[in-house]
Amino acid sequence: MSEALLASETPGVGATAVPAPASGARQFWRRLRTQRAALAAAAVVALLVLVALAAPLFTALEGQDPTSYHPALVDSARGGVPVGPFGGISSEHWLGVEPQTGRDLFARLVYGARVSLGVALAATVLQVAIGVTVGLAGGLGGRWLDQTLSRATDVMVALPLMVLALALLAVVPGGFPRPVLVALVIGFVGWGGVAKVVRAKTISLKSLDHVAAARLSGWGGVRIARRELLPALAAPVITYAALLVPTNITVEAALSFLGVGVKPPTASWGQMLTSADVWYQAAPQYLLLPAAALFVTVLALTVLGDGVRTALDPRAASRLRVGTLRTRKADTLRTRKPDTLRTRKPDTLRTRKDGS
């Protein structure tokens, strides 16, 4: 589902072949810096990453760990409701304890960040790796390879990510640590969008004159792919990846919520929500904390992803921001001669179809 959204929400990616200026990295930072929302989001993400990385430090500060049971802190007579006010908040347990088990909520929340971000990032890396490989192979390979890979990509894009991931989790072997498994599954089913974007971009790049010039210079295919194509693919791939991370966070949380993702004793925000509705009256923070954590994380990552897109493709972004008439530079007009004009039309058509 979100695949389609990402693809169609990324105008220009994969379609336009007009390159970014050479000093890409510096320009990128300059453009990113001008967006206040993206900067704030980046700060939030940085904080979350810090929390995730330094999770043991935080819990050590509190003096708790995420897996120890504290039976004394829950009232087994009342079904496991935390003892004490506000769900058992105390100086030892800053955010209270989990109902039934009495595990420390703060520790579980902090370690949940670890799982959430770790799984999402690992899955994204995998998705990008597979997607770029498949997309490049399809875009550069012969007709049959391209047709086969495109078909496979279509299948991956068509199938709902959640359904496939869920189904796969039924058959994966049990030996692995669960978070690793979840990341692998999400990574292996969610690469379709990247592959589509990369293939489309590769094909449009391939027809650019500087690639033809490199061929005339006598370079072979590998060198051309490395020097002329890959650098130009970076921007759309990064843009896409930035939007994949929040999606993956949601998918992990959803799988864990359904009880097939990350399983106890490992802490995960999604899994914390599974039984939260039962306890909302006695310990509302058991519901609200992981919900808020998820919301803030996904929101920050989405805003940051939008910012990255704006910084990488300012033309598309300005198109989205200002819809009023822009006077075009005469320069761009002059380049359109009869031949180029004719080429444009089928291209825009294809874009329209690919984009959806």
């Binding site: 050479a22 010039a213 005339l216 006077t327 001669k337 004719r342």
Partner: protein, 600 residues
Amino acid sequence: MSLVEVEDLGVEFGAVRAVDSVSFTLAPGAALGLVGESGSGKSTVASALLGLHRDTGARVTGSVRVGGVDVAAAGDDELRRLRGGVAAMVFQDPLSALDPYFAVGDQIAEVHRAHSGVSRRAARARAVDVLGRVGIPDAARRARSRPHEFSGGMRQRALIAMALACEPDLLIADEPTTALDVTVQAQILDLLHALREETGMGLLLVTHDVGVAAESVDDVLVMRDGRVVERGGVAQVLGAPREAYTRELLSAVPRVEGSGSGPVPGSGTSSGSGSDSGSGSAAGADDGVGDGGGVGDGGGGGGGDAEGVVDARRAEGVVGDVVVEAEGLRRVFGRGRRAFTAVDGVSLTVRAGETLGVVGESGSGKTTLGRMLVGLLEPTAGQLRHGGAEKPGKGAAPGVQMVFQDPVSSLNPRRSVGESIADPLRARGDRDGDAIRARVRDLMQRVGLDPAHYDRYPHEFSGGQRQRVGIARALAAEPRLIVCDEPVSALDVTTQAQVTALLAELQRELGLALVFVAHDLAVVRQVSDRVAVMRNGRIVEQGPVDEVYGAPQDPYTRQLLAAVPALDPAVAAERRAARAAGAHAVREDGGAAGKELAAA
């Protein structure tokens, strides 16, 4: 009262002052041309007449009155009535200027309704009516077609019909023919002329093409960098320009009549004889402006038959051995019912030191031919011999390079120009970094670039400079043949002249064989020794330039040449009359469009 009064107009986009104190008036029914190169601000002025800069962040100063309405002060409703109702605009690219999702007739009806408020049915009838008036055959049926089902010329007619539907007092045409082939361009210009005579509307024509202006307007305003350089009657400005810039601009314009035959070393002696007939007088009249912009060599050449020229030049060591020889080249794209033959049995020979011009309209197969010659495309059939030997296997041919059309996409934006130029050197195995750098610097110097700019990136260069980089990269491979695919069509006319001059110079110096592919007949004449005219994948006529241009044998060549705008308004009027006479025999664009439709 004047129809348009522009006083001290200034337009700023941020820190860029695109238009600076421009003033002019346009009487009802008069025709004014705004002529200038890219960045001269001419289109910005046109947009200002309709208040199109409103809400764009542009800062507009001065006053603009159109049909008595102060554009800056007008309220939203008043401005809406002005747009279309008083002054209607025709845009450059007729495909993107129409909504792809709606029938052409509906779009015209929508615009008409916005002004007249008539019923849907009446508006549709009106749309059919105006489509018929602009020469769209079977207008009632075609009104239901969508833009992509129209040919380029018909789309532009439809846009003009949209303007007509509102019965404006002024037609603003912003580069109305730039995206069109030369024969279609002539038809559109003729149509504009006829409509103006019929309705008495005023015309403001924005164009970079001096010839187009000469064909269509009474007065002309030459603009540069946002300012008016010169103004006056079109005959006076184009015939006897007062300002240096105007002279420079005019001298850079290549003449299809075959002027600018400056001192051509070598060929000069053997030329001049024979068949420079027909347009010879026109060429003489234009003489003396031809080489002002550095249009040196390659143009003109001489008369005599093909072998005569070649023999003469070979004797002087200018034209050498056969570099590339093509026989029955064919290229088919697609298969089955969708198969399309882009190049259909082309044979040609290019010798060292000579330039073969390949000229044709869009879809003629000239670019495909060029790409086959360098080995970027494999021919479906036919033979291609480089230096007498069959090309070995697939892929790029040795000793052959290409200069591309688009100065933006032909250079990798992420690599410094020096590295791009060094590509062929590294690819053939050179490893000595210093030697490579030195060689690249030499090449940059040679093509007129500052060698100190080795580490700069393409976006820091202008279009003309980028084409020079492309030429340097081609030269680095020490080729015997360079195929230039529309190398100057994206450039301004003054830059064009410099780049073609450079190519000619390099050819003379290095004894290169050049294949010059272009749609612009005048440019091709300027640079070529021999020319091949292509149509629908075939060469319809081939021979020495002066022969082909002077005494064209094929009717298509004649049609092409007749369609080229003349710089002399008097000649332009004459040609228009001739075209009008010819048009009775052949229902030109409509017929062609009909065929295109049938094929689709």
